[in-house]
């Protein structure tokens, strides 16, 4: 097992770091305070090829392998301080583009992938409902078939990218008697009759990623916009969650590496009681623990990427990786803030924002508690 990056992967990661440092960090703090999404940064990422990283060249993508994608995402996480933007891009790739690529018909791929890959369209998926969060399959959103159309009725909540999305993958019940297998997925364009989006929701962190409510009121969707067969919704959802849990958290690993570098530098420069604070074990031990969490997070991430690259399923491994990285990121953000003391707590530096952003990782893509349920269930409990 060799998890080291090839020369090409390492160079691509480095170029992602340089690109994001140079291009994506202007005005981040101000945008975050206002809860503003940066379309300009989105477009620059698209020019660099981020939105099409794992997509085939025939749809305008870079056609990169999964390990290269993860390395690039790690690089972006290291260089870009706009976590909301990165979350937005990851949602777009793993919960919209990837399922269309995997489950879509040729016509669906031809219509939707080129604008999504080029970044001219923004995508997302709509699963969560006001009363169906962790218990996602208890959804009440219904899709009824009449002739060659489906009519969808229901409300979706906390939908990433919804206020700016051109297309959403909407999950709805098509056969209530079939339990989890009675769900189907629909590609819904923002211009379809009956879909509307509420105003952006105010959240604690990731404030530059627009989140909203989606209302489907007799939303009319042509049959050819059903993704996969009827009843394939749960397979599509599980597949996209496994990919998201495997890849999205690469940006967290990158951010953890940046925070660690900043803490080491600060611990060497900041003098108290006549010596650098890093000479105190209470500080140096915190930094050592941050390094351990980073190292193990990276290993978990690369192991999942390696499994996915070989075409294997990774339900336990992706849950372990998602759980460990998201929890480690929060722990490291807390330590980074503590090491920087009042400066860390102030809004002048990024540490308080990083902490607010990091907490979201314990909730989206399945809460930490749900990851533990998945792991224990696979262990026969």
């Amino acid at each position: 097992m060799d998890f080291s990056l090839t020369e090409d992967q390492a160079m691509f990661k480095e170029s992602a770091i340089n690109f994001s440092l140079k291009t994506l960090n202007t005005g981040t703090k101000e945008r975050e305070e206002k809860g503003e999404f940066s379309r300009e940064s989105w477009d620059k990422c698209a020019e660099f090829g981020i939105q099409g990283l794992p997509m085939p060249e025939e749809y305008g993508g870079l056609g990169r392998d999964i390990l290269t994608c993860i390395a690039a995402m790690e690089g972006l996480g290291f260089g870009c301080r706009d976590s909301g933007l990165l979350f937005s891009i990851n949602s777009h790739i793993w919960t919209c583009e990837s399922p269309i690529l995997k489950f879509g018909t040729d016509a669906q791929k031809q219509r939707y992938l080129p604008p999504l890959v080029s970044g001219s369209w923004v995508g997302g998926h709509a699963m969560t409902e006001p009363d169906a969060g962790s218990d996602a399959f208890s959804m009440t959103c219904r899709a009824e078939k009449k002739g060659d159309r489906y009519f969808i009725n229901g409300t979706k909540m906390f939908i990433s990218n919804a206020p700016i999305a051109d297309v959403l993958l909407v999950f709805a019940v098509t056969d209530a008697t079939k339990g989890f297998a009675g769900f189907s997925t629909f590609i819904v364009e923002k211009g379809f009759p009956g879909i509307s989006v509420g105003k952006p929701l105010e959240m604690m962190g990731l404030r530059t990623c627009p989140l909203g409510e989606v209302i489907l009121d007799n939303c009319e969707v042509p049959e050819e916009n059903r993704l996969g067969k009827e009843g394939a919704g749960s397979a599509i959802f599980n597949s996209e969650m496994e990919w998201e849990r495997s890849c999205l958290f690469a940006t967290h690993v990158g951010a953890m590496a940046r925070d660690l570098e900043e803490c080491i530098s600060y611990a060497k420069l900041r003098n108290q009681f006549g010596r650098p604070i890093g000479k105190n074990q209470s500080i140096s031990n915190k930094i050592a623990e941050m390094k351990v969490r980073l190292e193990l997070s990276q290993l978990a991430l690369y192991k999942v990427a390696w499994l996915k690259a070989t075409g294997k399923r990774a339900p336990i491994e992706s849950a372990v990786s998602k759980l460990f990285i998201s929890e480690s990121y929060v722990a490291n953000c807390l330590e980074a803030l503590q090491i920087h003391g009042a400066y860390g707590y102030s809004k002048e530096m990024d540490f308080e924002r990083n902490l607010r952003d990091s907490i979201a990782g314990k909730i989206y893509s399945g809460t930490s508690e749900i990851q533990k349920n998945i792991i224990s269930s696979f262990l026969g409990l």
Binding site: F103, F137, D175, G179, G182, P315
Partner: protein, 83 residues
């Protein structure tokens, strides 16, 4: 017969452990009766791939292939023949 028996045992001993049953009606609708939920199907897919040395595509995880013991047996037979 071999697939049927192995699958029934796997379902009752590892997947639908709360069913309290000792055998399954081959045509019983496992989805309607709630014996297979979203977590159970993830585990079942992994175990089927291991047990029958096969690869199941995500797009094959649809009700018609997993509705009953008989539909699963047909699905596995078709897959293993093709492989």
């Amino acid at each position: 017969m071999h697939i049927h028996g192995t699958l029934e045992k796997l379902l009752l001993s590892e997947i639908a452990t709360d069913s309290g049953k000792e055998s399954l009606d081959p045509d019983e609708d496992l989805l309607e009766h709630g014996m297979l939920d979203s977590m159970a199907i993830m585990k079942l897919i992994v175990r089927l791939e291991e047990t029958f040395s096969m690869t199941i595509q995500d797009e094959e995880i649809i009700p018609e292939n997993f509705q009953s013991l008989n539909s699963m047996v047909r699905f596995i037979e078709d897959k293993t023949k093709k492989q």
